[in-house]
């Protein structure tokens, strides 16, 4: 897989079916449904004061949900380029308009937070860069966090460059 900036877009090329599938899983990975800890992490308490938290739940949380939903929809629309049979993904290029960079950062971050909450990864696991090969769904989750983090780093680097 290669990733580079071309004009007003970020291009992810030479995608193999495995990485293409991980990319396609970004929208569903952002969903914390059924995972109380992940939900609590995405909508964290703003204060130790009960009154502030109650107001927050009523007035701020709906805004945040709207923001997150919009980012996920933008990413899902970009990922529609990867729809199709696995074989046809060979040498497929995913083009992400640079104006969608914020939506991608947001969705990737939520996906990483939800996966980390789901599998309760420790700090040591998250910082272990010499991991053994993927042998379980949990290992795959750790790989996803790492892969999505790599994409975030690239987007941030390009943002810095302008």
């Amino acid at each position: 897989m290669e990733i580079c900036r071309k004009g007003d877009a970020l291009q992810v090329s030479d995608l193999d079916p495995f990485l293409a599938e991980l990319l396609r899983q970004i929208p569903s990975s952002t969903n914390p449904e059924g995972e109380a800890e992940a939900e609590a992490r995405l909508f964290s308490r703003p204060s130790a004061e009960k009154e502030i938290c109650e107001e927050w739940e009523s007035y701020v949380e709906p805004e945040l949900r709207r923001l997150f939903r919009s980012a996920t929809e933008t990413v899902a629309e970009d990922l529609a380029q990867l729809n199709g049979k696995e074989k046809s993904l060979r040498n497929r290029t995913l083009s992400i308009p640079f104006e969608h960079a914020d939506a991608w950062l947001n969705a990737l971050n939520r996906a990483r937070l939800v996966i980390a909450s789901k599998y309760k990864f420790s700090d040591a696991e998250l910082n272990d860069h010499d991991r053994s090969p993927i042998g379980s769904r949990r290992d795959l989750g750790l790989f996803q966090i790492s892969f999505y983090g790599f994409l975030q780093e690239f987007i941030l680097r390009e943002m810095k460059c302008g």
Binding site: S47, E55, N109, L113, A116, L156
Partner: protein, 129 residues
């Protein structure tokens, strides 16, 4: 006027406002009696002013998932801090577990925390003691 007030209800109700409304209600109930109305209302006003004067701080807490470069970018965007200052705060969060990013009036602090939550940072607002 009622419709306008209802529209304005989109703004979170504030404790100080609620107390202010309660104080006004007390005055309404007491209207007609001459000596007992004024003093309690003044006490309430003083307390409300004291509460408004208490500064609040915006605190960001450590999170092992958020990338350091991402956190730095968020601090630059939300607070308009130069890169060096944003990095200093990011490192303080990373090494000490938390950093105070801003201090001031409650409304502004709430606004900043909302922005930070939008970027998925663990942020809280706390009264300065």
């Amino acid at each position: 006027m009622i419709a306008f007030f209802y529209e304005g209800a989109a703004i979170p109700p504030r404790a100080d406002l609620k107390e202010g409304i309660a104080a006004v209600s007390e005055m309404e109930i007491e209207r007609g009696s001459t000596s007992t109305v004024e003093a309690p209302a003044k006490e309430k006003e003083t307390r409300d002013q004291d509460e408004l004067d208490i500064p609040w701080q915006v605190v960001v807490h450590n999170d092992p998932v958020n990338l350091m470069t991402y956190v730095t970018m968020v601090f630059q965007r939300v607070f308009g801090y130069p890169r060096e200052k944003a990095e200093r705060h990011m490192l303080e969060v990373h090494h000490k577990g938390r950093s105070i990013l801003w201090c001031g009036v409650r409304e502004r602090a709430e606004f900043y925390v909302q922005q930070l939550h939008g970027y998925l940072l663990l942020a809280t607002l706390e009264k300065v003691v």
